[in-house]
Symmetry: C2
Subunit: 280 residues, 2 copies
C-alpha cells in the first residue's frame, strides 16, 4: 500500500469513529443541532492533528486505539474553532472547504451553539476516556492548548491585527504559535502522554511539534501566496514578512529539524512518509 492509500485509510478510521460517536451519543438531541455538528466536523478535513496524535502514540509504543478518542476530541475542537472563526462577527466567511460555512447553512444562532456543542463534546468524550493518569495528562495538555492561553488568544490577536493592520514579526510568530501551533503541539503531546513516555521523550516530542508546526504554517503561507497573492496587512504571512527566500530557508530548516527527531525513533515509517509528503 502506498502512502496516499495508507493516509486515506487513517482519515477513514478517524471519520468513522467520529461519525459513530456523534450518531450514538447525540441521537436524541434536536435534529438541526446534531446535523450541524456532523456537518461541521465531517467535512473532508485532512485530519492532520488526529493522525499525528495516533501515529506519535504508535511510534512511542502506545495503543493507537487508546489515543483514538483523544484524537477525535482534538478534531472536534479544531472544527468548533473554524465554525466560530467563520461567524459574521469574526472572519465573516460564507465558505468552508468549498461548502457553505456552518452559520451560512444553519443560521447564526446555530453556528454559535454548534461550535459550543462541539467544544463541549470534545470534553465529554475525554471525560469518558479518562481512565488513568496518562489520560489526565492528555486532558490537561488539550485543555491548555485550546483555551485563553492558546488558540483563543491566537484568534484575539488575529482579529486585532486585522482591525489595526498592525503586525510585526514577533507578533505574527506569537499569533501562529497560539492559533495554529498550540493544537498541533497538543495533538503530538497527547499521543506521547497516552504512550506513557518519559520526560526526555516528551521533551523531544515538544521540540518535534515546534518544528513541524512552524514548517506546516510556512508551507501554508506559501500556498496562500500562490492562491491569493496575500499581502501583508490584510493577511499576516511569514512569506510577506521575511521575503520568499528567507521564508523558504526557514521552512527547510524547521522541516529538517523535525525529520531529524523522527530518525531517532523506531516505528516512525508512516510519520516520515507524512513528513516527506508535506515538505518534500
Amino acid at each position: 500500500m502506498n502512502f496516499k492509500e495508507a493516509y486515506s485509510q487513517k482519515i477513514e478510521l478517524i471519520d468513522n469513529y467520529i461519525t459513530f460517536h456523534l450518531d450514538s451519543k447525540y441521537s436524541e438531541v434536536s435534529p438541526e443541532l446534531a446535523e450541524a455538528m456532523k456537518y461541521s466536523v465531517l467535512n473532508g478535513g485532512k485530519r492532520l492533528r488526529s493522525i499525528l496524535c495516533i501515529e506519535i502514540c504508535h511510534m512511542l509504543g502506545g495503543s493507537a486505539e487508546k489515543a483514538l478518542p483523544f484524537a477525535a476530541a482534538i478534531e472536534m475542537i479544531h472544527a468548533y474553532s473554524l465554525v466560530h472563526d467563520d461567524l459574521p462577527a469574526m472572519d465573516n466567511s460564507d465558505v468552508r472547504r468549498g461548502m457553505p460555512s456552518c452559520h451560512k447553512k444553519f443560521g447564526e444562532a446555530m453556528g454559535i451553539l454548534c461550535g459550543d456543542a462541539l467544544l463541549n463534546a470534545a470534553y465529554e468524550l475525554i471525560s469518558e476516556s479518562c481512565e488513568d493518569s496518562s489520560s489526565v495528562q492528555a486532558f490537561k495538555c488539550i485543555a491548555a492548548a485550546a483555551g485563553a492561553k492558546g488558540m483563543i488568544d491566537g484568534q484575539v490577536i488575529d482579529l486585532n491585527v486585522a482591525a489595526t493592520n498592525e503586525c510585526y514579526l514577533k507578533l505574527l510568530t506569537k499569533l501562529i504559535e497560539l492559533k495554529t501551533m498550540a493544537l498541533i503541539r497538543a495533538a503530538i503531546l497527547t499521543g506521547a502522554c497516552i504512550a506513557n513516555c518519559d520526560e526526555k521523550i516528551m521533551s523531544d516530542m515538544s521540540e518535534f511539534a515546534y518544528h513541524l508546526g512552524l514548517a506546516f504554517q510556512l508551507r501554508d503561507d506559501f500556498e496562500d501566496i500562490i492562491e491569493d497573492g496575500a499581502q501583508c496587512g490584510d493577511s499576516p504571512n511569514f512569506v510577506n514578512f521575511l521575503g520568499a527566500a528567507n521564508a523558504k530557508e526557514m521552512l527547510e530548516n524547521h522541516a529538517a529539524s523535525a525529520a531529524n527527531i523522527l530518525k531517532r525513533y523506531d516505528n516512525s515509517e508512516f510519520l516520515s512518509q507524512l513528513h516527506s509528503f508535506l515538505f518534500d
Copy 2:
C-alpha cells in the same frame, strides 16, 4: 451569624477563588480577553450552583476544598452560557444584571471568544483538579450536563420556541430540564461525587436535584410574572401554562420533596436554611 451573612461569606469564597484563579492563570493573555472573562463571571451572581456543589459535598462528608475548583468551573460554564445567550443572534440582550452584556461592552467578536474561553477555562481547571476517580466522575457529570444533551439543546429548543411561538407543557418541561435543571443537577451530583458517596446517596441527590431544580424554576417563573407580566408565547412559563394556583401547588410540592430529602441527612443545616430562604 445569620443565614444571609453566611451566604454572603460563601459567595465571597467562590468569587475570591475565581478571581485568584483567573488572575494567576491568565495574566499573560491579551488584556481585553482577560478583562472580558472576569467581567462576565464576576458580576454579582448568586452562586447558587457552586454553593450547592460545595454544601452537598460538605453534607455528605467530603472535602469542600476539593469541591471548590469544580464549583468554580460550574460557575464559569454558567457564565459562558449567559454570554453566548445574550449575543445578537441569540436572545440579543444588551443588559445582564443591570450592566452592559459582554458583547455590548467588548464587541461581538469578544463576546463569542470570551464565552469560548470561559467554557474552555472550566475544563482547564477541571483538568488540573482531576486527581482520582471521584474527580473524573465529577468531570463526566459536568461535561454531560453542559453539552448537546444538556444546556445547549435547551437553548436550541428555547430559540425554536421563540421563533415559532409554539410551546406545550411537555416541551416546556424538556426545555427547563435541559436549559436550567441540568447544570443545577450537575452541581449537586458533583458535590456528591467529590464526597465519594455510594449509589443509594447518589440516587437521593439526583432526586433532590430534580425537585430543587423544578421548584427553583417555578419560583423564577413567578418572579418573571410579577416583574414583566410575562405572557405565554414570548416567554414560555409554567405559571402561564398551568395557571397560578396549579403552579403554586407544584412549587410547594417540589420544594417540600426537596426539603424532605435534606431531613434525612446530618450536616444539612446550611442547605435547609438555603431552602427556606428560597422557598418559604
